[in-house]
Symmetry: D3
Subunit: 160 residues, 6 copies
């Protein structure tokens, strides 16, 4: 993608008008409070009615980051409805596996299982990772996923 | 993940036995020819009956790499059946967008459309990219996706 | 960072209460319209009163992404006041140089010059890149920065 | 690299023919069993006759990934003979150091020492990392390499 | 950036001459000893008069890497004067946060605090990270920064 | 790697002494002029007696970066003698292929050929890239390598 830092004002003046009008659509009246509430609903749905510990741990020192995660990442992006939770979590597991972030992959693999994704489907995502990003991130992700499966089986054995 | 380069031969001797037995399962009799054929079927299904130009372009100088792509990436990994083509392509679009590889994302976004994914669903994946990997790769991916949509609309207008 | 996907409901119930209260602070009444307006002011201030072409180019196909860039990235994050524009752009130039994104680095280097950063200061950031991320991204960034300096000198010669 | 998702069927029809013929070469008759056996020989040669613990640990939960590592990564790619083991391991150590994967670098540095690479040569690779990818991955790699040297000296002191 | 590996000797012959002359400037008489001394002064200024433990730990096994860090990274790049310590550390914190290197970010965040940067300013850099590189590296950086703040507050409570 | 930002002055005071003594070794008397000369010899040896165009192009706007590349990267790191040119270039080709920097990989692949590495050996490095970092960077590297081979064959046909 080539980007230039200037455009002739004539062209963008017009574009800008449409943009300004766009900014007036009712959809844009959502308040920050509504976005935070939407994010809270998403996290509770993904996390079996529990707040997300890492998110809560951020609130004292990093309230802006906690609010941005809840209001933007979860409230705006994650609350959209064109993709279902299963698909969104499968994509996210594949992305964090390929980026070499097994801790984040593990969190979202847990959300995926909560949303009805099977262990077999999660393993398939990791197999794809060998093609997307090579064997090291796939092996690291498989170890994190095996931990998650083990923890959840243990919780089932331990019972309520 | 902590990895150690040595294990006591006692333990791994036993593991190794099971591994050796595993290697004798009928599933493992697949020949390289069968794997290449499976890969050919995958690429033709994804690419509307066409060979993949980038793959074919590699054959003369890099026959091993072309065969590895066709036999391993496509024939072994991509031909598996637990995930459907739609889901596998949506994951791959999300991964290549997040990794900052818009050229590869564009190829797989085309496969996704061929597999029945909608333009709206592909846009949702790009919105997720802002959370996964930040705004620059999302903006670069959106530009590549807009090109793809434009090219395909143009082809429809031009007709057969 | 180790993250666990569950916490005892007792502890997080309390945390959650404080979070819920937090969500009621007046600061959170900002509407999407106000955020978009804040983002518009930021981009015009950084870009000498011009809209940002890459941003405007996204609006037709990717209105959500354009709004997220304007409302979240610019309106919420970039409009904060603890760091001044000079410092924020110098950091961003250093980040995009190290991440190997010279196109984005060039855009923000232009904003930095508009905010009063000197060419010499921008060069220093690129020198730091050799330590942060090695010589290839530093050399790529230096080429993009040289282009920017050349384009702006040309515009000055061409006059209004 | 510019990639297009379509080519005129005329041209690729011909290319495809040659590809199909290529797929019939004797070299391609290798069965999955033969590939797994080739991979087993590679890992035993690199790892002083021992199976690779991380590989074996994957077999139960991720048999496909273990087989892909053994059959593709080791059996196909690593078993080739144009590069010798010393060179292949030195390259791999340099790559994993630059990619910021000190755990994987450490494993392959151990294989390199087993293949006759000297400690001094491994240190040189890390010095190159400062140029390739900056000082942080080089410093992280140096710490992992120092651990490896220490562990192996300790094993020598402890004796058989 | 497009790079070619050859140029006509005519053109570069001239360029080379100027390069050769450049190499004779007095500024280039600095000895390795002077560079190491300059690096020592930088690290002591940043680290409150203390040597840098990670740097010292490298000296025995990796003297070249320790000298390159002290003589090049610190002595040449970090000792320059166009950017002040505050700005240089803020940039470095933003870069290591975006690159997903929270350990290095934490070290430089400590230097930043030693140089008079406020905790609030460091938090702002992390908020920028959500735009530069997504939420996972920002959240990881926030955890490392919270640890640093906690350690320093503890040291103040413990007193001298 | 865990790093702490403080160490008791007692321990590091001693370490520091040895470091200071180390700084007095004759090896450290090398002047900047000698380092630049060493770098010039390396580039001329690698590039068949030609200056490196990208390096020369940096001199006017970025003399410090050009000197750092020539004096540190080439003069200090690349001029070391424990690894030979063939091995150092093969490692560098593998690293830049895995990092997704085909332009830099192409430059060093040219140096490798100049140092006596065969086309077949370079192809092997690219095959390793599929394991190290996945198929997209390997395919991108193969395209850059095919360009290089074509350019050099063309030059041979064109003759002196």
């Amino acid at each position: 993608m080539t980007l230039t830092t200037l455009g002739s004002s004539c062209c963008y003046g017009a574009l800008w008008l449409s943009a300004a009008l766009f900014a007036l659509e009712p959809a844009h009246a959502a308040s920050e409070r509504e976005r935070l509430e939407a994010g809270r609903e998403v996290i509770e749905r993904l996390n079996q009615g529990q707040p997300q510990p890492a998110l809560e741990a951020m609130r004292e020192e990093f309230p802006f980051l906690a609010d941005a995660t809840q209001g933007y990442a979860l409230g705006e992006v994650w609350s959209r409805e064109i993709l279902d939770d299963r698909t969104r979590q499968l994509i996210t597991v594949g992305v964090f596996a390929a980026l070499g972030q097994p801790d984040y992959m593990k969190i979202h693999a847990g959300y995926a299982l909560n949303a009805g994704v099977s262990e077999e489907e999660l393993k398939e995502v990791i197999y794809l990772t060998t093609v997307h990003a090579g064997f090291p991130p796939a092996i690291a992700a498989s170890a994190a996923l095996a931990e998650l499966f083990q923890e959840r089986r243990q919780r089932v054995e331990d019972g309520p």
